[in-house]
Amino acid sequence: MSALPTGDLRVFAQYERDFTEDVDVAVVGSGPGGAVVAKELTDAGKRVALLEEGPPFTPADFELDGALSMARTMREGGLRATRGTVMPTMQAIALGGGSLVNSAICNRAPDFVLDDWCTQFELEHTTRRDLDPHYDAVGKFLGIAPTPENVLGQRNLLFKRGCDALGYASEPTERNVRGCRGSGECFTGCRTRAKQSLDLTYVPAALRGGASVLTSVRVERVVAEGGRVRGVAGRVVAPFTGRPSHRFRVNARAVVLAAGCMATPVILQKSGNLVNRSGQVGENLQFHPGVAMMGVFRDEVTPQFGATQGYQSRHFLRDGFKLETLWAPPAVLAVRLPGYGESLKRRLAMIPHAAIWDAIASCNRSIGRVRARARGLDPNLSWRLHPQDLRILAQALWTLSEIFFAAGADSIVPGVYGIPEEIHSRAEAEVLRTRPLEVSDIVIGGNHAFCTTRMHGDPRRGVVDEYGKCHDVENLWIADTGVFPRCPSVNPMWTGMALAHRTAQALAERL
């Protein structure tokens, strides 16, 4: 057992007055970006303050009910949505950020994505060879490994069976998990403590290195004077209600913003439109929009058992989508089922015989923006799904239906307006391929978000360089998925952590 942390962790109940701290580096946000930066900088001997607006959650604080869990762990109660194309999207508010309530999927960005980033965004040091050492370091620390077979469960194995029958490549998902028992509770917090979320791993490691971890503090602005950043300032906020109380200021030689790609641009905009000579702060917002489908099997699937998203197929990445298995609190899954009254109850009763699989799409043509609201730090998100990207989602839906029937499903519930609510054969499912879809015909969810402070080799076209340093200010850095120049086509957490790992090393060298 390692030595216990010696750093300073503060929670809401401990704040009694306004306060000021002096450190080398203030890191804003304790999710996969910020926690990695904090740990690596403390390892390099820097004095670090890690600031997080949310509280730390213990297993006793986990809420098993889906909606109540989201209301406690997600910003805007989990009911955030984009304007333009209306699409729900989420951002966690907790120590450890999204890693507390995601399904721990870890993928390296594919070669063709990194090649595209380097070519299109004038990057010289973001190749596979450049990033692999950082992926490796993070992967080793978190124990990233393929999902073990004994906790896959029928829901995942049926997906494999369907893909195998059609000749589509698929594999157990690599995850930051040690000792998974297949509870399927990733989205409400892992009660088995198997998921190696950042609050259990990098944050304690940062504390062990002597970092100050301040929770329930909302950074409202970056303090800049004379062309340099001097620190950050904000308010202590109560958990869940967000009610502000004491003021604080953290003076720092450098600031790293890792508040997430929907919050970092808001902080910059609220700080006098800082580092925006390029005009790119808050622009280029991209998502991996997702669609899901339920398939019903004759035999019981017991879908509640098994790794939450234990299997995936990257077979269609170049076509623009990735396929995954899925489980979530039953109530959250049930809200996607069509109908009402008797028919709805009948479909809900099918869930024990059902598997739910989803697709996430690379929608590089669908662009939006993040703007600060007049009051508060919740972002105003506008985004529109491009018609060509809609075609990718339609193809993904058709492919999911193919896999379901190849796996032996009796029927599928596609959840698409204007086509039958239940489809009983692959031939019937042709309608998914042949009928032109409108954006409003399908239910999409905004998974992952990127690019709002993108990296670019040309300071006129990007906010940060490829190490995460802002082009306009020497000592302000960004380490969240906002720096991605384009969506990575796969789940972004590992790439975000690898880039953050590199950012920390670059920053440590300069301080």
Partner: protein, 214 residues
């Protein structure tokens, strides 16, 4: 003068149609107004009628109480949006009537078969905005329905009892709202991490979901 009297009558009638005459709920709610509770009870019963493949009805599930609890934990802006949704569906039938006699009434004052017809019209509307409103309402009702533990137990989907190992982080973080002094663990309490043994599906349920749980 007569014009003012007529105007006052019309306004009074309008206010009465919108705000007066809801039945008194059988319990007090922290957030829900009487009219909202009546609407939610009516919508829950139409969405989850008695009988069928799952025994519990929307009424049995106590959905208004669940929504009241949900409203309690939401931030004011989100809470307002949700309440506006309830108001919209409850009163839309004053302008776009339900089929049959007496269709120009609030949703909660319609007959059961009229409520079902209204829901059907919202769900099948060619205007996506109407479908979106319906889907949002149904989502809230469904969340409440599944929070009723007998529903999850009948489907075999109730969470199992899991004993969380005590790890390093448990020595660092108090429960939300508490002081670090309240952390009940010391180094001696640290336990072995999970060994990856799959959960037994016939194991005991989490106490919050077990038969007889409050």
């Amino acid at each position: 003068m007569l014009g003012w009297v007529l105007f006052a009558i019309v306004v009074g009638y309008g206010v009465a149609r919108v705000a007066v005459g809801h039945p008194r709920p059988d319990r007090r709610f922290a957030r829900l107004a009487r009219g909202e509770a009546a609407f939610l009870a009516a919508a829950a019963e139409a969405n989850f009628p008695p009988g069928g493949d799952i025994m519990a009805s929307g009424f049995d599930a106590g959905i208004p109480a669940y929504v009241d609890r949900l409203l309690e934990v939401l931030r004011p802006r989100t809470r307002l949006q949700m309440r506006m949704l309830f108001f919209l569906v409850e009163h839309a039938t004053l302008f776009f009537p339900a089929p049959g006699r007496g269709g120009f009434r609030r949703f909660s004052s319609l007959r059961p078969e009229q409520r079902v017809a209204v829901l059907e019209a919202w769900e099948r509307s060619r205007f996506w905005q109407r479908r979106f409103v319906f889907a949002s309402l149904r989502a809230i009702l469904t969340l409440g329905y599944f929070a009723h533990t007998p529903v999850l137990r009948q489907l075999g989907l109730a969470p199992l009892a899991i004993e969380s190992p005590v790890c390093e982080a448990d020595l660092l973080y108090p429960r939300i709202g508490a002081l670090p002094e309240s952390i009940p663990y010391t180094r001696d309490d640290l336990s072995e991490p999970s060994d990856g043994t799959p959960l037994a599906l016939d194991g005991p349920l989490d106490p919050r979901y077990a038969e007889g749980a409050p």
